[in-house]
């Protein structure tokens, strides 16, 4: 009895507040937009019995998905989301690896502090961290003031409201997610492996490529997924730092819903976004699984 209650409570909570809502999204994505509340048809009336259910089913169609293919805004947004997420992930990796490497090679008594310094930004507001770049990157911003001041440039650079600003924002906010898995892989690296490589004729640089990189591969892969997956559906960064030409699907969904009030299309956008995400999520899960098996 106790066991049943233990399982049932979280189970039904998640069914009701995670699975059912998701099925609703799926259903609405197959409905038509209507000037009503809720603004779509058909609505399911369970009191009508089986006949009503059949009628309800016949009211569903793939019109919204067809609409997504006709308007090239959508597929461009998907494509550019994937592109921005890919580039941003690579940039984050390039920024994170040296930091993780430096941490793993720092003296033992420094490491808890360095660890805390990496985690600290995670606890502070995401919104504020993104916002802090607005003041830096804007035309009158601190970066332009600084560069103009030391005379590197004569005219302010336009960074804010471009994709560059979006990249900076993503690298900045997701950096800890990349540093931590790489650091934990590097920290476990046995120093005698590097000595063995040198002993067998490697220079330090080639020992790094032949031993350190392959042995931190799992950390790199985990970090890349941890950055890539949430970045694809990112809304705050492209809205705040990106410009009108920055197309990301999270932003499109938001605008479709709040500005155009087209719930069926917004739902269809969500369904496709999820379909796109399934591939990296499954790959990520498999990578984690493999790693657990290798360790166990």
């Amino acid at each position: 009895m106790q066991r049943f209650a233990l399982i049932a409570l979280p189970y039904f909570w998640l069914l009701a507040l995670f699975l059912v809502p998701f099925l609703i999204v799926l259903k609405i994505s197959l409905s038509d937009v209507a000037l009503a509340i809720p603004p779509y048809t058909p609505t399911l009336d369970l009191s009508g019995g089986w006949g009503a259910f059949k009628e309800f089913l016949s009211g569903l169609d793939f019109e919204n998905f067809e609409f997504l293919t006709t308007d090239d805004l959508y597929w461009k947004a998907y494509l550019s989301s994937v592109q921005i997420a890919t580039i941003a992930t690579i940039l984050t990796l390039i920024a994170a690896y040296p930091i993780a490497y430096g941490m793993a090679n720092a003296p033992d008594h420094w490491r808890p502090t360095l660890m805390m310094l990496v985690i600290l930004p995670f606890w502070t507001s995401f919104l504020i961290r993104v916002y802090s770049w607005v003041g830096i990157l804007s035309n009158e911003g601190y970066l332009n003031q600084f560069l103009l001041g030391i005379g590197i440039i004569s005219e302010p650079l336009t960074i804010l409201n471009t994709n560059t600003a979006v990249y900076i924002g993503i690298v900045y906010t997701y950096l800890p997610f990349m540093i931590l898995p790489i650091y934990s892989a590097l920290e476990r690296l046995d120093g005698s492996l590097l000595e063995a490589a040198e002993d067998l004729g490697c220079s330090r640089a080639s020992a790094f490529w032949l031993v350190t990189i392959p042995l931190s591969k799992n950390g790199i892969i985990a970090g890349c997924f941890l950055v890539f997956i949430p970045t694809i559906g990112e809304f705050v960064i492209p809205s705040l730092l990106g410009g009108s030409q920055t197309l990301m699907i999270g932003k499109v969904l938001w605008e479709e819903f709040f500005n155009n009030r087209d719930w069926p299309v917004a739902s269809a956008v969500a369904v496709i976004l999820l379909l796109i995400l399934i591939i990296p999520i499954v790959l990520f899960q498999r990578n984690e699984q493999k790693q657990r098996e290798a360790e166990g």
Binding site: P10, P21, V25, P38, I99, L117, G233, F235, L253
Partner: protein, 269 residues
């Protein structure tokens, strides 16, 4: 063999400068006298005063704290239960679906979570307000709690619980008297994580809150969309200060605890 080369020192310095400089600038300019955020016009704390007199911000802060405390507390209970189910309950029908529902919200884009919950609340005719935000926050943060707690439960030595049962505890009291005190640090960090996530959330709250319950992130969002604001700088500084003090206190406490433990162990041998 650890090597602290100039390369490592440089990359750490640059890396941490990148992580912290934007926040440091934000904090400095929160004490700027000028209304123009990017132009320094002398030291002043007037924006903090403005902030304190701004009713809308205070209301939003109060709503946010209420939502965060309630949702993270419920999420901690549900998440701990879910972790027990994941680690201990063995096989039951629907187990795969259950663990899927625990892990999926972690990777689900916030826009989708928000949208789907909003559609549910409208579908069942629940008016949007504080309650709906709490329900939404509880749902996704309980998944984070259960991940944190279950990773601790996996390494928990079950023979301790068996010893308690052997000595006459009921399963429930064995959990309360033995398991819970030992996994307490994980449960507490789960609560803190849930609390922070709730405090931080803009997207899901925007979908589920409706006009009657404006949380602080929603309020911040609507004001920074219009551009830089010195009040927001002041607010950010306060929030950063609270988090910094909290994190440093927590890490010092845990460091002291582990030092004391080491000293005790040394003394014992």
């Amino acid at each position: 063999m650890r090597r602290m080369t100039w390369f490592n020192v440089t990359s750490l310095t640059l890396g941490f400068a990148f992580l912290y400089l934007p926040m440091v600038i934000l904090i400095i300019f929160s004490f700027n006298a000028s209304k123009l955020v990017t132009v320094w016009a002398g030291f002043s704390t007037k924006w903090y005063g403005e902030l304190i007199r701004n009713e809308a911000f205070l209301d939003a802060a109060w709503v946010t704290i209420k939502v965060a405390v309630i949702s993270s507390s419920i999420a901690t209970v549900l998440g701990t239960m879910a972790a027990l189910v994941l680690v201990r309950a063995g096989r039951f029908s629907g187990r795969t679906l259950f663990s899927g529902m625990i892990y999926a919200p972690l990777v689900m884009p916030e826009v989708i979570t928000g949208l789907s919950l909003l559609l549910l609340f409208i579908g069942i005719g629940l008016d949007r307000g504080i309650l709906t935000v709490i329900l939404a926050h509880t749902t996704f943060s309980m998944c984070y709690v259960s991940v944190v707690v279950s990773s601790r439960l996996v390494s928990f030595d079950q023979s301790l619980e068996e010893a308690a049962l052997d000595l006459g505890c009921s399963p429930a009291s064995a959990f309360r008297l033995v398991t819970l005190p030992i996994i307490a640090p994980a449960v507490i960090s789960g609560w803190l994580l849930a609390f922070t996530l709730s405090l931080d959330d803009l997207v899901i709250a925007s979908f589920t809150a409706g006009p009657s319950a404006t949380t602080l992130p929603i309020k911040i969002w609507s004001s920074i969309r219009l551009g830089l604001s010195p009040e927001i700088n002041a607010l950010s500084t306060i929030m950063i200060a609270i988090v910094t003090v909290g994190v440093i206190t927590a890490s010092l406490t845990s460091k002291r605890a582990s030092l004391k433990r080491q000293a005790d162990e040394r003394a014992a041998t």
